[in-house]
């Protein structure tokens, strides 16, 4: 019972303190509304009936969770659409980057920079790495 009341409280907005639920708000009206919620639940109302009760009194904006019909549906639909677009974008981007030309061979340059040619540079790269290593420690 208490849990149900709490869940309901969290889904109903306090009409005078925008953005806060009646569970959260400290103003008198919210406390009063919390009272109504537990009263109605004690009287055997369903969650739906309690919500409708408040909607009737304060309008649809009193519910913190947008409805899944009418314009409220757009909230959910666009949000899910956004996530799906993100997923598709990820797949497309990965595919695009994968498709970039793979390393091609170029015989002319091959001669220029053969492995043997680079061998001297390899030694130098190793040497400068060792040098910076010792610097790091010292």
């Amino acid at each position: 019972m208490e849990r149900r009341a709490q869940a309901l409280n969290q889904s109903i907005m306090c009409p005078v303190c925008p953005g806060e639920s009646i569970d959260q708000s400290q103003v008198a009206l919210a406390a009063q509304m919390r009272g109504i919620v537990s009263e109605k639940l004690a009287a055997g109302w369903t969650d739906e009936q309690v919500r409708d009760f408040f909607v009737e009194r304060y309008g649809p904006s009193v519910l913190l969770q947008p409805p899944t019909e009418g314009i409220g549906l757009a909230v959910w639909a666009v949000a899910s659409l956004g996530i799906m677009v993100g997923a598709v974008a990820f797949a497309l981007a990965v595919r695009h980057m994968r498709r970039r030309p793979a390393v091609e061979r170029d015989s002319e340059f091959d001669d220029e920079a053969s492995d043997v040619d680079l061998q001297g540079y390899y030694t130098r790269v190793e040497a400068s790495m060792r040098e910076s290593d010792t610097e790091e420690r010292g």
Partner: protein, 661 residues
């Protein structure tokens, strides 16, 4: 003194305007004297604003109520220490604060980029000066913090009581500074783009540096804001997906994506366009934050400086967005990257996935935040989009992000075969499974929470195991354990800085998961002497003392709290009512341990000493607040300047000549 501040403000605007024009023209026409002059001029702006700030502080301290802002935000009863809060509590003052911070940080950032990005700097400086100039212009023409009143009131109106809280000393300035700071990496990126340097990755190191600085400030701002909400808003929670919270979260999300993806450009020369787009999005969202905070269209508990000038911020936001898109398209060609993604399973693609997820959360948050405005425009009915929506849509996304945090750092750059993957994942996965078993034994059966905790364990396990192995492998090469640990850290600062940040995020996640899944609460009505219990805790309502202060009515309630059979102390909560503001502020009594918080807050006082209390047990919340210092440490380690690896150009290693021969 106040007049001197006024003059300084005017001079600052003139100098800033000059800096914008001179910097752009000088860079465009290649006139070195002009760009140098713009730069020196820009350096003089922070001192000028400091003069204005001192003038305002002086007016506060001397209770000079002839200054409108001072009269509206302080009174004789206000202790001098709150001058600091009052300084940014109102609209005009917060603008001055923003301008001062932005101008100072921009000047410092120009000092750091000037030598290394000589061609980019003038353009970047022009952008920074433009943003500072916007604040200065608004201040001078619309919301002057030093404006005089025609009739001097006898006493001021006083400071908003909700702001009288320790968190308020750091949270709003941090938050505002964070939003302002995003302008720095944005300006560097735009400068590089305008100077046609964007494509060649020149700006990446410094963009990353300033991106991380602004990320850290935003993070600390958010944490402090949650902490403030937790301790003073008196409802037992810390985050409610309120529009202002969202508007601070969105730039943080974009910047989180940015500081990750910038690494891909640094290491691999990829994601050039993407990084530009991300920083543009981040800056736009930061401005959106300022707009919503400042009298935007969506009401919230946190917006404190309501005014219609929010719309000017919106216009500025749209303007800068369009301009940066224009620059982006103009330099589109320089942003093309030819680097190939070598494998789908690689660090690069993990980063991309992370980016998309963060942007998705940002998008959902943005959409939910602004939707009420749309629905009102479209149908005339306001649809509230509140916590249930965000929990339901962002919750799973955040869960996936935490999972990715466990796996991503274990993926090597460029490519990974399944064998490497298994090798890297084996031990952390075992840790995660162990955690699950342990949790099941302890009695945690919530499936979502289990998965969430497992993901955190995966992340933490991966980091700690790698750390351990790193130290061990150094130890095997003959280093003592402490030395091995330090050398490992100093030799790979960005890597381990990032890991420390991840550990901080894991702590944050533990707090969020624990408190969102396992929090229990109860509203109880009690008279002095009554005993009630919640979970393991038994509490006795000792009584309330009501006192009347000049500005408020204070009620302090006391409880004797027992955990099990042990007396764990007397806890006091406090509720204050400020008649002038008609605001009640509640400070909950919180007994915080790493395992759980026990939280009592008075919600109503009825007749004959009866009072209603809300009592909560919030597990693990402690970890959220503890994560702040860890995050800061991680950023510092990650940004600590490492020595350039092997200055290959300056000093050729010994074998150079021989190799050439």
């Amino acid at each position: 003194m106040v007049d001197a501040g006024q003059i300084a403000l005017v001079v600052a605007l003139v100098v800033t305007t000059y800096a914008v024009v001179a910097s752009f023209v000088g860079a465009w026409q290649r006139i070195p004297e002009l760009t140098a002059s713009a730069r020196y001029g820009f350096y003089s702006v922070p001192p000028l604003l400091l003069v204005s700030t001192s003038a305002l502080v002086y007016a506060f301290v001397t209770r000079d109520f002839s200054v409108r802002y001072v009269a509206e935000n302080s009174n004789f009863a206000m202790p001098h220490i709150y001058t600091w809060v009052a300084f940014y509590a109102g609209n005009a003052g917060s603008l001055l604060y923003l301008a001062l911070v932005l101008a100072s940080v921009s000047a410092v950032s120009v000092l750091t980029i000037r030598k290394r990005l000589p061609h980019t700097t003038p353009y970047a400086l022009g952008v920074m000066a433009l943003i500072v100039g916007f604040f200065l212009a608004i201040m001078l023409f619309l919301a002057n913090p030093l404006e005089r009143l025609a009739v001097v009131p006898a006493d001021g109106q006083g400071i908003n009581p909700l702001l009288i809280h320790f968190g308020m000393f750091i949270h709003p300035p941090m938050q505002m500074a964070g939003l302002a700071l995003v302008a720095v990496p944005f300006s560097i990126a735009m400068g590089a783009l305008a100077a046609r340097r964007g494509g060649r990755d020149e700006w990446v190191d410094l963009g990353r540096l300033w991106g991380m600085v602004s990320w850290l400030v935003l993070t600390i701002g958010l944490l402090l804001g949650s902490w403030w909400a937790y301790t003073i808003l008196g409802w037992g929670g810390y985050w409610a997906w309120d529009p202002v919270e969202n508007s601070a979260l969105m730039p943080w999300l974009a910047m989180t994506a940015f500081v990750h993806s910038i690494m891909v450009q640094k290491r691999r020369g990829m994601f050039r366009m993407w990084n530009m787009a991300l920083i543009i999005v981040g800056f736009t969202l930061a401005q959106m934050g300022m707009f919503i905070n400042r009298g935007g269209p969506v009401p919230s508990v946190h917006s404190f400086a309501q005014s219609t000038m929010g719309w000017l911020f919106l216009a500025f936001m749209v303007g800068t967005l369009l301009l940066s898109i224009a620059v982006f398209l103009w330099r589109y060609d320089s942003l093309k990257s030819r680097e190939r993604l070598e494998a789908v399973v690689s660090r690069e693609s993990a980063f991309l996935g992370q980016n998309i997820l963060f942007l998705a959360v940002a998008f959902v948050t943005l959409w939910g935040t602004i939707f009420p405005v749309f629905s009102e425009a479209a149908e005339g009915t306001v649809i509230t989009v509140g916590r249930p929506f965000f929990d339901r849509v962002n919750g799973p996304l955040l869960l996936v992000i935490v999972m990715l945090m466990g796996v991503g750092p274990l993926l090597p750059w460029r490519r990974s075969t399944s064998r490497s993957l298994i090798r890297a994942l084996r031990a952390p996965l075992a840790a995660a499974l162990l955690t699950m078993v342990a949790l099941l034994i302890v009695g945690v059966h919530q499936p979502v929470a289990l998965v969430a905790f497992m993901s955190v364990a995966l992340a933490v396990g991966g980091i700690l195991i790698e750390w351990l192995r790193g130290v061990r492998s150094r130890h095997r090469r003959g280093e003592a354990y402490p030395a091995a640990f330090l050398n490992l850290l100093t030799g790979n600062r960005p890597r381990y800085g990032g890991y420390i940040v991840h550990l901080g995020i894991a702590m944050l996640a533990v707090g969020i998961i624990g408190s969102s899944f396992f929090s229990v609460q109860r509203d109880v009505s009690m008279k002095p002497g009554d005993v009630a219990s919640l979970g393991d805790y038994t509490f006795v309502y000792v009584g309330a003392t009501h006192t009347t202060q000049p500005d408020s009515a204070q009620s302090v309630v006391a409880f004797d709290v027992y955990k099990g059979d042990n007396f764990s102390g007397r806890m006091e909560a406090n509720r204050a009512f400020y008649p002038v503001f008609r605001i009640a502020s509640t400070k909950g009594a919180i007994r915080s341990t790493p395992i759980e918080d026990f939280y009592i807050v008075p919600s109503e006082f009825g007749s004959d000493d009866e009072a209603v209390f809300r009592v909560l047990i919030n597990p693990m919340v402690w970890w959220m607040w503890a994560s702040g210092p860890v995050l800061a440490l991680g950023i510092v380690v990650g940004l600590w300047p490492a020595r350039q690896p092997a200055p290959a150009v300056v000093r050729m290693p010994g074998g150079a000549q021989a190799a050439r021969a």
